[in-house]
Symmetry: C2
Subunit: 203 residues, 2 copies
DNA sequence: TTGAAGATACTTACCGCTCGGTAGGGAGGC
DNA sequence: GCCTCCCTACCGAGCGGTAAGTATCTTCAA
């Protein structure tokens, strides 16, 4: 009835305002500084609330971290799921896939930072996350596309599709890591990566 | 003059026994847990000395960390320097290079862990290390080999040698990261990587 | 229509612990 | 007597987490 009144309390109105704000700040902080080096104090200071407010919505630092990962994983998973539905030629499918991952990282580096760190550099004391399953799922998606290309005679069959998928994902991960370090993307970087992956470095 | 006398003090005799022991433990700890999560207390406990003993030999935690990196970088640099002197065919040179890096990592994962972490996940609060220069130097070594192969007509020239070197190094870094996560090396993994790098995934 | 009960969503103020680092002293060789 | 090398004992700061109180909204009996 009075839509522009401050509406000081309650979830219903704007979907748990403070909880969402904490989560967004936490994503950025955990992504930038890691688990151990991110203090609850720094989060609540950035949000503009107090510690018990945070502990009211998230039971502990570990719980908050798990929640952060849950939010980010579901977002990234979509890029991997969307790929196989594309019906274009192999090179173009792979190129779009790589491009979508890299450009999403340019727009918002936090998910990539969070996931790559959690996979390659889990910290002691941080809660377990089962990224193995997440990683395996994404790898399987990519491998399925390559296997399909193997069946069509476009891709060599002496190496398993999983091995090839692992190699390609390695190229992408590495380029993403370089991007996170600050190296800007050339406009045709996805094309370059896929071209080398498919045709190799030979003449 | 008295080379085999115990000589309980002073650097000369056994090269500063305690200092070396601290350094070795610190390499392993910093590599395993990172800078922030490694406490001086845990190091001296593992070594079997006290904090002031450590602070006597290394002025601060940051200084110790820099010293650790200095020791490790000079070790790894050798693998990159040794490669170009090899006069075998391209595929074999690259394969040996990859193989030497990966197998050194199996023997002692600390250097790889330390360097890859410092490059991809520097922590706030940790001292600056100028890994940019280290990374650029290693990349240039690899690029030089590829440029030589380009001149010999073995490698495509539409992509710069640096771009190809970056891609290959990405494949190696990624495989090393997987190794550090626990995925064991297949006996022919270096061959697979180089084969895909040179010939691509196509049929 | 009201007003007490209760749930919700926070606040201020504190706790115990671990951290990097140090003051000051002592043992032993030159 | 001095220098090297290392010890015991301590410091202030920052950490994750909490006890206890408070303002606001919801519910429902009188």
């Amino acid at each position: 009835m009075h839509p522009d009144i401050p509406q000081p309390r309650l979830p219903s109105g704007k979907e748990n305002d403070l909880r969402v704000r904490i989560l967004l700040v936490a994503i950025e902080r955990f992504a930038t500084h890691g688990y151990g080096a991110t203090s609850i104090r720094s989060i609540v200071e950035a949000v503009g609330c107090t510690k018990p407010a945070l502990y009211y919505h998230f039971g502990s630092k570990a719980d908050l971290f798990v929640e952060v990962h849950r939010a980010v994983q579901s977002k990234v998973r979509k890029a991997f799921v969307a790929m196989p539905q594309n019906a274009a030629p192999l090179a173009e499918r792979l190129e779009r896939f790589v491009s979508s991952l890299l450009e999403a990282t340019v727009e918002d580096p936090s998910p990539a930072r969070l996931l790559l760190t959690a996979i390659h550099r889990p910290e002691q004391g941080q809660p377990p996350l089962d990224l193995e399953a997440f990683h395996a799922h994404n790898l399987a998606r990519l491998a399925a596309v390559l296997q399909q290309a193997q069946a069509a005679g476009e891709v060599r069959e002496d190496l398993a599709a999983e091995v090839l998928a692992e190699i390609l994902l390695g190229m992408v991960h590495h380029r993403a890591l370089e991007l996170l370090r600050g190296k800007p993307l050339a406009h045709d970087v996805s094309k370059q990566i896929i071209d080398v992956f498919i045709h190799g470095a030979r003449t």
